[in-house]
């Protein structure tokens, strides 16, 4: 007689793992149902300005009257708490969830940086297994679980927009697609260099494979804004992939360019949102233009 196979054995043998996983999914779904437009901000490479863009887009949407939140999903290199000026806040623990920090214009902010003692403290998970070689087997899972909790256990309330600031690369993209079934799409951020454009193309392909809609591509640091003559000159060599070539080579909408302004970088360090501090800047104008295009594609 052939013993029963896995699918023929009813239940989960008493481990109750499936029921717990289902409960987690229901809890997450109930939270996300109240968020009209979760939008992922991602890039292929790091250092292209995702967090800057996330913070400023959130501020523009909040300024327009939308209920807005940001989740710093870059667990190991969180920047949004500083950029949004909420680093000194504590999250408020309630019975049914965690109240987020409140940034400018009432933007709700959640970041791992709010849970770590210092900004320079790395995120290290407690482990019964002390082996560094085995850590790679479970750290990704731990990160995904933490991401789920930040989404499911935060009392976001009714939001019009929730911007998810992704870590660089596409490693976590499958987690976002799985955890946020009502994800409206992703904004892909790049800079005007050949390498970055190539990686952006890889990112678009990966998003397509995973069924993640790309709302559009944004080119940051697209030229240097001269503080004296206020004209924009090239910051990177405009090679084969630069400038207009960027738009032509894409399999996604091109939403716009943001010039590099040293003052913008300084606001990140000071914990002030640039679009709010410098509303008349050409950089802010480009951010508003991009925000309008994002709204139009949603």
């Amino acid at each position: 007689m052939t013993p029963k196979r896995y699918a023929e054995v009813a239940g989960d043998g008493g481990s109750e793992i499936l029921s717990q996983v289902r409960e987690q999914a229901l809890r997450l779904r109930a939270r996300l149902e109240r968020i009209a437009h979760p939008v992922l901000v991602m890039s292929g490479k790091g250092g292209v300005g995702k967090s800057f863009l996330t913070a400023n887009l959130a501020a523009i949407f909040a300024r327009k009257g939308y209920r807005t939140g940001v989740l710093d999903a870059d667990l190991h290199a969180p920047a949004l708490a500083r950029i949004m000026g909420v680093r000194d806040q504590r999250l408020v623990l309630g019975e049914r969830g965690v109240h987020p920090a409140i940034g400018p214009l009432g933007i709700q902010v959640v970041s791992m940086a709010l849970l770590l003692p210092e900004e320079s403290t790395p995120l290290i998970w407690n482990s019964s297994s002390q082996s560094a070689s085995s850590a790679s087997a479970w750290q990704g899972t731990q990160d995904a679980t933490a991401l789920r909790e930040l989404l499911a256990d935060t009392l976001w309330g009714d939001l019009d927009f929730l911007f998810l600031d992704s870590p660089p690369g596409t490693d976590r993209l499958s987690d976002f697609v799985r955890l946020v079934p009502n994800l409206r799409g992703a904004l892909v951020v790049t800079i005007p260099s050949q390498v970055s454009h190539l990686v952006a193309k890889k990112t678009l392909q990966m998003a397509s494979r995973l069924g993640c809609r790309v709302l559009g591509v944004i080119e940051n640091m697209s030229g240097y804004l001269c503080p004296y003559c206020h004209t924009v000159g090239p910051l990177f060599p405009a090679g084969e992939m630069g400038g207009k070539q960027m738009e032509k080579g894409l399999a996604a909408s091109f939403l716009g360019r943001i010039p590099f302004d040293p003052a913008a970088s300084a606001t990140c360090d000071r914990g002030v949102v640039f679009a709010l501090e410098a509303p008349d800047s050409p950089l802010t104008a480009s951010l508003y233009s991009i925000a309008e295009k994002v709204m139009s594609v949603l």
Partner: protein, 169 residues
Amino acid sequence: MKFLCVRCDEAMKIEKTEGPDEGSLSIFFQCPGCMIQVALLTNPMETQLVKSLGVKIGGAAVPSEPYEQIRGGIQGERSCMFMERASPGETGHPDRSEGAERLRQPEGSCSDEQEDLPEWSMEARARLSRVPGFVRPMVEKTILSYARQKGYRLITDTVMDEAKKATGM
């Protein structure tokens, strides 16, 4: 993962879980037919993998707490990671003077009204306690309703003043 008693061709049931002890979990199964028992013993890496999923083998006696895995998992977490009451002035909501309606999440779409209740600052709670008892429930309800409508997460003295002025209390 399921355990099958080959002799009885029946699924074994989980009896109990022990540990982790030195990083190892012991999970005991028993066949309901022939009562034979087996134990699954995990190594520390396997224990950690299960833990990182945020599940407990054998089921959880109580629902998980908010941020349970994060709070229990961070090494060297911030002291006073959370606070029961945020400092005054952390309320705030954007001016909703413009915005396309089609992009808005409908108001009142909350499926659990209790979840939306704002918290009270210590000063505001103390101030409420000084309101005469026979009107206090009405005052509390009015302020809560005002704060929810405005999207405030925390009721402070400032919010109470606003509510008083807006509602004519």
